[in-house]
């Protein structure tokens, strides 16, 4: 087995600060970081379990006087919230798998095989990771209309796959480059063709990297808003970000903040779970994609 580098290996650099500062300032700083990162989420969670009276109270009632799940029940009863979740899940999963399937071979080719113009291809791949989706949406809208793909998963799956292919190529390429070349050389001596070697030797070794890339792709697809807003208008096919954003938009008078908060909590839960489980991989993937690229 070839050990893949883990972030733990490069993780130690002693602090330059003296001990006394460290004892007082560091805990405070850590508390600040935690507060900064969690406060808005916490407020939304609190709002989601408050009664409407508590939510609208001025001055604010910080902790719920009565704990309620009515908003959670409402989003599943009065809205097709399960469909939204299913749509997001399907679109994100399919495009993640497609993205790995298409991006990994390309990454291997760019990492290992000598191709004319590979530097140019790599440069283009790197540049388009920086393109905002608004540059694409007009042209894609025309394609979607011409092919009659509106209100079809494909209208999201294809662009979501494509917008994550560049990151996949960058991350997977950097992993392939870290694999020792001897491995492939000896496989070639043993008579493996490039395809065979890729499928039987390299892919099993790169499962961890595939997981890393897949998580980043899934997050990006789950969160995408512009294409989902433009290409999907049928209520039952909407994904979470658009469906939730439109809860506030469709309200005639008062915005229903309780259900909105509940919807936000439910819609972000899958991603919170991913981050909790795969924090280290996400960091690895992001740094491999951005810095090493």
């Amino acid at each position: 087995m070839v050990p893949l580098p883990s972030s733990a290996a490069v993780e130690t650099s002693p602090s330059p600060s003296p001990l006394s500062v460290k004892k007082i300032v560091l805990p405070l700083a850590v508390i600040l970081v935690v507060g900064f990162s969690l406060a808005p989420i916490l407020w939304q969670v609190l709002t989601s379990v408050k009664t409407n009276a508590d939510i609208a109270a001025v001055p604010n009632v910080y902790l719920p006087t009565r704990f309620t799940l009515e908003h959670y029940i409402e989003i599943f009863r009065r809205r097709p919230f399960l469909s939204y979740m299913l749509n997001s899940f399907m679109v994100a999963t399919i495009s993640t798998l497609l993205c790995l399937l298409i991006g990994t071979p390309a990454a291997y080719a760019l990492a290992r095989l000598k191709l004319p113009g590979e530097q140019a291809i790599l440069a283009i791949v790197l540049i388009i990771t920086l393109f905002p989706y608004i540059l694409l949406f007009l042209g894609l809208l025309e394609i979607v209309r011409a092919l009659g793909l509106a209100n079809n998963y494909l209208a999201l799956v294809i662009p979501y796959t494509a917008i994550n292919v560049p990151l996949t190529i960058l991350v997977m390429r950097s992993f392939f480059q870290q694999l020792p070349r001897d491995l492939e050389d000896s496989a070639k001596v043993d008579g493996y063709g490039t395809w065979q070697m890729l499928a039987q030797i390299l892919v099993p070794l790169t499962v961890p990297a595939l997981v890393t890339t897949g998580i980043l792709t899934f997050i990006s697809a789950w969160n995408e808003f512009l294409f989902a807003l433009t290409f999907i208008t049928r209520e039952s096919l909407k994904t979470i970000p658009v469906a939730v954003a439109q809860i506030s938009g469709t309200a005639a008078f008062e915005i229903p903040y309780g259900p909105l908060a509940a919807a936000t909590v439910v819609g972000t839960l899958p991603l919170v779970a991913l981050v909790l489980l795969f924090q280290r991989r996400i960091v690895q993937g992001l740094t491999a994609g951005a810095v090493k690229g």
Binding site: P16, V58, G103, A106, P132, I134, P166, I240, A263
Partner: protein
């Protein structure tokens, strides 16, 4: 013999690359090229059936379009302000997360969280936080006695811009922290020890060791964040839809409205092209600086 092997390797290589290249051509190259073409036409789905070739008319119209210039200004203010603040806070968080303390793994996980959450949902969260009636920002400011009546944050031009900047800073600072933390971890610790023995204060160490050695990561993070902030759509669409009175309308929001609300495809395409050109120009400048810095610090 070796040349046929090379040819075979090349053919395999192109086969491996082909699906990705075709997909990128379809989803990136075609839409951008198509926008370039469309921008030369007067095509409004609301009023006209046949597109009329009008040359550079759309670009001429843009030069006199106050709303366009306002959106450029808004986008620039938003981008510069949020990226600068994010760099400062992101650096602070990265420095904290680079220290060793119990529970560091858990704290790092928490610190990444905002980045991973859907921006559109976070937009609704921040709109609620800045709500003029029962928002917690007004509540805290009132309790502290800093204001006497609640501010209508999203209903006034400057406060609205400030609100979306705050929301964006919260959402994307972790991205910068992650990149800078990776950079910090690659700086050897003995550099600091030697420097401290020479009598340097932590601040001097930061300025003389950390900042210069971290410059590649800082530049990469800035470049990524610049591009993302310049194209910002979801957060602002959800929080203000570009309002009030266009005060938070960024280029993306304007393009979206031009195409989807006014159905003005020709002019929308021209806006896309100009945004594209601006982005590519800035990237080229950034790439130039990055290559210089990388050459100066050694390729890391």
């Amino acid at each position: 013999m070796s040349s046929t092997l090379e040819t075979r390797e090349r053919r395999t290589g192109w086969l491996l690359l082909a699906p990705a290249l075709i997909l990128l051509a379809l989803v990136y190259a075609y839409p951008i090229a198509r926008s370039l073409w469309l921008s030369l036409f007067n095509q409004n789905l609301g009023t006209e059936l046949q597109p009329v070739f009008t040359g550079l008319d759309n670009y001429v119209r843009m030069s006199g379009d106050g709303r366009f210039w306002q959106s450029i200004l808004n986008t620039s203010v938003f981008t510069v302000a949020s990226v600068l603040i994010e760099l400062v806070i992101g650096m602070g968080i990265a420095l904290v997360l680079n220290q060793s303390f119990p529970g560091r793994g858990a704290i790092r996980t928490i610190a990444i969280l905002p980045w991973a959450l859907p921006t559109a949902l976070i937009g609704t969260t921040w709109a609620w936080i800045f709500n003029d009636q029962a928002g917690i920002v007004n509540d805290i400011l009132l309790r502290l006695g800093l204001i006497e009546t609640g501010i209508n944050w999203l209903g006034n031009p400057l406060p609205a811009l400030l609100s979306v900047i705050v929301a964006d800073v919260w959402k994307t600072t972790p991205f910068i922290s992650i990149l800078l933390l990776a950079g910090l971890q690659s700086i050897p610790g003995d550099l600091y020890e030697a420097h401290a023995i020479d009598g340097a204060s932590p601040w001097q160490s930061f300025r003389q060791i950390t900042l210069p050695l971290l410059m590649p990561q800082i530049l990469v993070a800035t470049l990524f964040r610049f591009a993302q902030a310049f194209g910002i759509f979801d957060l602002i669409q959800v929080m203000t839809s570009g309002g009030p009175g266009g005060a938070t309308e960024t280029v993306s929001i304007y393009i979206y409205a031009t195409v989807m609300r006014y159905l003005d495809f020709g002019y929308g395409a021209a806006l896309v092209v100009v945004t594209f050109v601006v982005l590519v120009l800035v990237m080229a400048i950034a790439a130039f600086f990055l290559s210089k810095v990388r050459a100066a610090t050694g390729d890391r």
